[in-house]
């Protein structure tokens, strides 16, 4: 059973990341996303991680997000991190964590533009 909501939008997968992502939740997120990618018939779509509901992102949560994107990348999916709040962006940079390996977009709408239509 899927514990993490995974939506399909314009040929891409959209995951609204829930707050309070702890060890257990992180594992669920990664497993569910990877299984959804494997099941998805639209092989050329991207993956949108919507983090607009996260009021903070510590290095642990940042690592989970970056790892998820890296795992999806190994399965041939491009990930876009969408909706980071201003205070979260400020906090991450102050801590010295720039999340440089993952493309970002202001919101899901911009993330969809970035991914374009599935080829």
């Amino acid at each position: 059973m899927t514990r993490v909501p995974i939506l399909r939008i314009r040929g891409h997968l959209l995951v609204p990341v829930q707050p309070d992502l702890e060890d257990r939740g992180a594992q669920d997120l990664q497993n569910d996303v990877l299984e959804a990618i494997a099941r998805d018939r639209n092989r050329r779509g991207g993956l949108l991680l919507d983090i607009s509901s996260l009021e903070f992102v510590d290095t642990y949560v940042a690592r989970v997000l970056a790892d998820t994107a890296a795992m999806a990348g190994l399965m041939g999916r491009t990930t876009v991190l969408c909706g980071m709040r201003p205070e979260v962006a400020a906090t991450l940079v102050q801590m010295g964590y720039l999340l440089e390996d993952v493309p970002t977009a202001l919101d899901v709408d911009d993330g969809l533009d970035l991914l374009g239509l599935p080829r």
Binding site: F56, T59, R63, Q94
Partner: protein, 158 residues
């Protein structure tokens, strides 16, 4: 015992007070499970919200509380946090203390530089937390545990 003090230039009304802190709002939270990390984080955020910190400072306090309580749980084998409000003349702030009796931080200089870690985190927990707050004090020794105290002052706009 290695002991380090870090202080950003004090804004407005001078140095940290030596008198006992305001006892109101002081709370001790045990950290023995991962769920307790979330409790500390939530309590720290609630305390800072009561003091009307802005959203940027709230995120900084919540994040630092999360990093440091996670260190207590993951690296220190458990411990506790003490959350309280502090006052120094006209300004107010939050003071968070994190204590464990774990193995201690082996190479404090490297840990404070960041980008190095013994656990699963990024190694930015200590150095990152230090950059998010106004005052940061750490005491650690091999086998004697770790004690980290941070203070964030409420910026008063005039």
């Amino acid at each position: 015992m290695t002991r380090r003090w870090f202080r950003s230039p004090a804004p407005a009304t001078g140095d940290r007070p030596d008198r006992p802190p305001d006892p109101h709002g002081r709370a001790t939270v045990p950290i023995t499970t991962e769920a307790d990390v979330a409790v500390v984080r939530r309590r720290a955020r609630e305390l800072a919200t009561e003091l009307q910190f802005d959203t940027f400072s709230l995120a900084a306090i919540t994040t630092a509380a999360s990093e440091l309580s996670r260190n207590v749980w993951r690296h220190g084998g458990g411990g506790y946090a003490v959350l309280e409000r502090v006052r120094d003349g006209a300004r107010v702030g939050v003071k968070l203390l994190f204590v464990d009796e774990g193995p201690g931080v082996r190479d404090l200089d490297r840990a404070l530089q960041g980008g190095w870690s013994t656990g699963r985190s990024l190694g930015l927990g200590l150095s990152g937390s230090r950059r998010l707050v106004d005052e940061f004090e750490i005491e650690t020794a091999p086998g004697k545990g770790t004690r980290v105290e941070i203070v964030k002052w409420l910026r008063v706009r005039r």
